[in-house]
Symmetry: C2
Subunit: 207 residues, 2 copies
């Protein structure tokens, strides 16, 4: 009954039939963002992905694993992007502005992941939660390094601790999902640039 089955397992199958693990992750992301982790049953996920529980527990050890994989994917991508921007040869202010704007744009592009991050992280098992926090911490530290660099060079004000500034900014970023809607009049890039402006201007030395 399975059509087009002359396909190597694990192989990408054009753009019609995605691999099962990917479909699972994709649907789980949507459902977790819409109803929350605890309110989404494994049954719902597998139905949305068009498979059965057997398939899911074949690829993932638990429902927790599913959530963890979603996090890990997002974190890897954001860290990669930050590293690439932060280590370019551009002037500091430009690098910080680009990093600040980019993280907004990518957060909006993947609003679902962002929402899940916000709402469901504390529902992970303690050890996996620790792993996520560690990765996240590395990201924040890299970003903080940029702020400190500007403070050391005198470009930025020094009367605000860099870590407070970083938490201040990422609070704003993480909360995008609670108010941003595609139907709004501002594009993701516009929001990103506004946010980056606000951050950079808040960092100007006081008059």
């Amino acid at each position: 009954m399975t059509r087009a089955s002359t396909r190597k397992p694990g192989e990408a199958a054009g753009d019609e039939q995605a691999a099962v693990p990917r479909r699972l992750l994709e649907q789980a992301t949507k459902l977790f963002a819409k109803k929350g982790f605890d309110r989404t049953s494994v049954q719902e996920i597998v139905e949305a992905a068009g498979v059965t529980k057997g398939a899911m527990y074949h690829y993932f050890g638990s429902k927790d694993d599913l959530l963890y994989e979603i996090y890990a994917r997002v974190l890897r991508e954001q860290t990669r992007q930050l590293e690439s921007v932060a280590s370019s040869g551009a002037p500091l202010r430009e690098r910080l502005a680009a990093a600040a704007s980019d993280v907004v744009v990518s957060s909006i592009d993947n609003l679902d992941d962002n929402t899940i991050f916000l709402q469901s992280m504390h529902q992970l098992s303690p050890d996996k939660q620790k792993a996520v926090r560690a990765e996240r911490r590395k990201y924040h530290e890299r970003f903080r390094g940029l702020v400190e660099e500007g403070q050391a060079s005198g470009e930025f004000r020094m009367d605000k601790p860099a870590d407070v500034v970083v938490d201040f900014y990422f609070g704003s970023v993480h909360h995008l999902g609670s108010w941003y809607h595609r139907s709004g009049s501002l594009s993701a890039r516009q929001i990103g640039d506004h946010y980056a402006d606000l951050l950079l201007d808040a960092l100007r030395p006081p008059a």
Copy 2:
């Protein structure tokens, strides 16, 4: 077995034996903040409060109601505080700075409520969620009014939409719970003043 029961219901009972609804709300707040709404069973709440499910369902219609009451209490208090600060006769910048700093301090004083707000709002029934959002919206609009007032008078930059600025700032505030710890070296008021400074300085007209 209930001692000291010669007490009018609804009456405050010294400082030893709080009223049952209050105890329920108090313990529910702690547990929701620690484990999340869905992970906290009604059984755990009533045990922590020293009563049984019969008592809880006598005072509250559902587990949802408990959560809703917690929200409503916080929102009433924050709105009251903002109104009082915003309508004083002080200069605009002082009023906005006070409002911005106060909301940080009160968010830190009640970190549990703040955490719950962040994590569990979407688990309310749709109509109650709507009620909470409406109240919250009123709060944001009042705050935005201050920003717009400063833009109209030329004190603040006009190239950033006021609602973006407000969402930017409250994102930061809502996320305090995810990083602030009492053990840190900064007091609630210090954080509040830093945040208010960052907001006010970000609003300075660009050079």
